[in-house]
């Protein structure tokens, strides 16, 4: 096979592996955003964090009811503690995602991608 064609196939294999791995990394990130509180299941999204921060800033109460990801109302007795948990979950997840993604980008071979 012509060397240039062989190189093109090598790159095609690399791109297919990179794409598959990027897709899985995103799923791992999405899963690590999940946390539990008082029987409820939540995802530490930017929307949730912003909403809870708004609640703590604009209301006098540190207690509220939030609807979880299974659409069930969950009593949150300490909104500030909940916000801290959501923030730390988000930061841990996004940092892990960034670290893994950066390592992925640095590797230019299929073998290298599998060592990340």
């Amino acid at each position: 096979m012509d060397a240039k064609v062989e190189k093109a196939f090598e790159i095609a294999n690399y791109m297919a592996t990179l794409t598959a791995q990027k897709r899985i990394l995103k799923e791992e990130y999405n899963q690590s955003l999940i946390f539990y509180h008082n029987g409820g299941m939540f995802k530490a999204t930017k929307e949730l964090i912003t909403f809870v921060k708004t609640l703590t800033d604009l209301t006098d109460s540190n207690q509220s009811v939030l609807v979880d990801d299974n659409q069930l109302p969950v009593d949150v007795a300490d909104l500030k503690a909940f916000l801290t948990t959501a923030l730390s979950t988000y930061q841990y997840a996004v940092n892990a995602y960034h670290t893994a993604y950066s390592a992925l980008r640095k590797n230019r071979t299929v073998e290298g991608l599998m060592l990340v």
């Binding site: 294999n13 299941m41 659409q71």
Partner: protein, 277 residues
């Protein structure tokens, strides 16, 4: 309230489900730390494994399944074998626990995400959303039970609390299984074999119509899976390595891996090879 995990290991002539069950039990102990009960048709084979540390109790149940199916080992190799899958609907009466997580023995736990089940208020949790590690494959068969039909729910992993609802649900699944030729026609399912996923999906539809999401809860995250056209090449700690079927080919694969995701490994042969490494 007692809690634990129930594993079904119904051996056939070529696939040693008991070996997979012992491995799955070790993962349950490591990540979820709850008691494990194995339901099997082959206690002798199960006892050949080192089960004392990971299996808390064993229930012997013979599976009288009339079904066979092709078990693939990658895209190029397959064998037609007995498919013993009809005892799942007895989970409610078999389980020794008040709150039970049932997982297939080829569902490999790599995280503690399912520990949520025992912390939440709903009586029944199941997966509807799924994720094929091969991006290109048509996933419609795992979205609805047939082309113009009802949502697909996975019987691979589910959780239930002993309750009137759960009991009725399993009674319905047994009824659907006993009258499979009728229900498969009503729901336009082409498969001759009764499949637990179909039985569960139909039972949920009979109980709740299309408002199933108001009746049962979703397990956290998604049902991640590879099909039996792919290979699991290794598993250790929280990491799994795979060869995933490449689009447009029959014998080319893409190497990929997961970290911390629970994965349903449908290729039993490759799972057994990875366990034995």
């Amino acid at each position: 309230m007692t809690k634990g995990v129930l594993l079904f290991a119904q051996n056939n002539s070529s696939v040693d489900y008991t070996k997979m069950a012992v491995y799955a039990a070790s993962r349950v102990k490591k990540f979820l730390n709850v008691p494990v009960t194995v339901v099997t048709n082959d206690v002798n084979q199960l006892s050949k494994n080192d089960i004392l540390k990971v299996v808390d109790s064993v229930i012997e149940v013979l599976d009288d399944s009339p079904y066979t199916k092709f078990f693939y080992d990658g895209a190029d190799s397959s064998v037609n074998l007995q498919w013993n899958n009809t005892t799942r609907s007895n989970a409610y009466t078999l389980t020794p626990y008040d709150e039970t997580l049932v997982i297939d023995v080829d569902y490999i736990i790599n995280s503690n995400i399912l520990s949520y089940c025992w912390e939440q208020p709903q009586d029944f949790l199941i997966y509807k959303d799924s994720f094929d590690l091969a991006q290109w494959r048509d996933q419609r068969e795992f979205q609805t039970v047939s082309e113009y039909s009802i949502p697909f729910y996975w019987a691979t992993t589910f959780w239930f609390r002993k309750s009137q609802f759960a009991e009725s649900f399993f009674d319905l699944v047994s009824y659907i299984k006993a009258n499979w030729s009728y229900y498969k026609s009503v729901y336009q399912i082409h498969s001759t074999n009764f499949r637990n996923d179909y039985g569960f999906s139909i039972a949920l539809h009979l109980l709740a119509g299309l408002d199933t999401d108001y009746l049962v809860g979703h397990l956290p995250s998604k049902m991640y899976y590879i099909t039996d056209r792919d290979f699991l090449t290794s598993v250790n700690d929280q990491e799994m390595n795979f060869l995933i079927e490449k689009e447009g080919t029959s014998n080319e694969y893409i190497h990929t891996k997961t970290h911390g995701l629970d994965v349903h490994v449908m290729n039993k042969f490759s799972l057994l090879r990875a366990i034995e490494k």
